[in-house]
Symmetry: none
Subunit: 219 residues, 4 copies
DNA sequence: ACCGACGGGACCTCCCGTTGTT
DNA sequence: AACAACGGGAGGTCCCGTCGGT
């Protein structure tokens, strides 16, 4: 794995910094969270048993419960891992773009890529967690809402910058634009997965791109 | 309840048609499906236990299993009940509209009303079921996809009629328009429920209304 | 079992009184409580596993948990059963005695019989529960203390009657006498069981009998 | 054990030589036994988990299992520690008394002090262990019975000396007197802890003091 | 048509003990 | 000497489904 390689490379460095301690444990901790995240994303939190996670991690109960006090705690760590994966996808996509509109398009493009290459097996963890946990799991709901807030903040930053450099119409409400884009793309993800067809995502993406071009960009 | 009243009204009629047989049983059957649908919609299929349904229906195990062979079968019946509720919401909303565009707006308005008055407790059953079952439950996934297909067919009919009477731009692709509208509104439902705020739904609704007006209506 | 036979005999009678309902369940409920009481009394509450009770009752988990919501609830029911057994032993012993002093002696004699014929396997449930639960289980502690209170009340009644008929010295404090007798005999039970020798019980009994004769009886 | 014997022999010698070696280990060993003794005395042997002992000792599993091969072995060491505490309480109380009767009273006084100042948290370890282990744990039962035997031997010595100096009635049976005193006081300890009231202990103590004075002392 | 009793398996959690490492 | 990591089994609880009764 890329990750394992990365660790192998970083280890000597961290040794220099005296971070030697608790390496193995941390690694296992992360590995469990990562594999649990995938399972939770596919079968849901209540649909995934600890035994499933045991099988995926090839660890026994004792090994898992050493790192997580409960399934609840593990589910939070798993969500955090998933959120981090999503963040990295956005970071990678936004990195290449230069103008504000380009950046917004890059944001949309991340969702568009979910049909073929989801950040985790099972689709968008934000969408999945939002649907499963909105009524039943305050802790996860909170965390999920925080990701949405992050995205909205990102939109605010991008739109502000775009307005400042006269690329974006100053009338544009960043918050509303963010909600519209997230809703449309996440809805597209849902449809694409349900129908097993990426068309809905493509339609959503094209529609929003045109909208950005015609109604958000300053002419 | 409206539903109960409806039953009371319909019963004498069905009596006229000799449907005397299986009345009480059918009623219980429907009641179980209805209450299970609400539970499933809130806590999910794997998050809802038969004991929850027993409590809600005030029936013992035997009473439920007389009507449904398994939890699986009950979940299908419950989804069918939920789908029917949704259908009725759409029928009621579309009934009043006259023009094609009005009809499309009426379609969107149904989703807009979900924030304050969802068809079932727990939000949109189509969205919820799609997310929970896309990877794990082919039977429910199929049924959910069928609802989407129904909506698309509805769009086809409306758009065709609109084109025929020169209200809608003949360039409009009904299928794509349907997917866009469904994705945007369902995404809005997700956000509204997650954030506990109907703004995302309102934004989605307003955006699509303007889109219908400017880009779908024939000028 | 005697008990089962008894039930079989009583059943037709209870039918006459319309107590037909919930017969089987109640019977199983009682049987579980009785057998659990014996186990708890021998191996303690925390030392007895539900699997032990399953083996003893020849019931599966499902069968037991139908009747008791938790091990905690079962432990309370089991203690109540044990307390009832103890009560019956006292009732049987006190029934035959005539004078106040005789009644007190009969009370002591119940404890004396514990060495050879304890009310339940494992010795005195009051003593055992008191020791195990005084610091850890308020519910059981309360119930155990209530039995002690019952015994003290019994002493009050006996002593009062004895004083009234000039058989007992009016200076005698019934409460203190009760505590002394209970302490001495329960301590005797403990020693007898620990040493596997009934001598301590016999010594305690003889001592208290002489004490009753010389210092409690009115001369 | 060989190890115990070795320690007993080596200790004075190594002290002479200022023995640095093996001191830290022995200290930890004792600390674990002491803290485990308190826990076992409160929550019982089967009610106390190794994790409880880990928390109390602030040691990890490996740290404890280095000193004790198993929970079973630890429980024996803990009981030995508890027994030693009890022995010291008796030694301290008996040290001050001069006559035989005074010594017996001093013996009783130790139990009387248990209500306010038990030798360990949780009450009398002899009583607690006797009740929990009489049917289930031969090793601990043996050790507990040995403490009782010690006490009886102590009574024999005191009574013999008392008879020899004409302080105690030569008719007195030391063994029976010991059993009576132990039973009465331990029963008092049980009641005092159960009821949260030292009265039973006081009553037992006063009763036995009067008994010693009137029926044991030679007049 | 519905209830109550029960089987037996799965689930989460915790337990005791072992091993490798430092 | 002590810790961290882990195995594997047992504990209590809950689950789904069956069956006999009424």
């Amino acid at each position: 794995l890329t990750r394992a390689t990365e660790c192998a490379i970083l280890r000597p460095i961290s040794l220099l910094f005296g971070e030697e301690t608790m390496r193995k444990g941390q690694e296992t901790h992360n590995r469990i969270a990562a594999q649990a995240a995938a399972l939770f994303n596919v079968t849901g939190y209540s649909g995934t048993a600890m035994s499933d996670i045991m099988r995926a991690t090839r660890l026994e109960k004792g090994g898992i419960y050493r790192h997580f006090a409960s399934k609840e705690q593990l589910s939070l760590a798993a969500f955090d891992y998933a959120a981090e994966q999503v963040r990295q996808r956005f970071a990678a996509s936004l990195a290449e773009s230069e103008s504000a509109i380009d950046t917004l398009v890059a944001f949309l493009a991340v969702f568009r890529s979910y049909a073929e290459r989801p950040p985790l097996p099972g689709g968008c963890p934000v969408l999945n967690t939002a649907i499963e946990c909105d009524d039943t799991n305050p802790a996860l709901r909170e965390r999920t809402a925080a990701i949405i807030a992050e995205w909205c903040a990102l939109f605010h930053a991008i739109v502000s910058a775009g307005i400042a450099c006269s690329e974006i119409d100053p009338e544009v409400d960043a918050q509303q634009l963010a909600l519209l884009c997230i809703a449309t793309m996440e809805g597209g993800v849902m449809l694409a997965r349900l129908l097993g067809d990426s068309t809905p995502l493509e339609v959503a993406y094209q529609h929003l791109c045109r909208y950005l071009e015609h109604s958000v960009r300053l002419h």
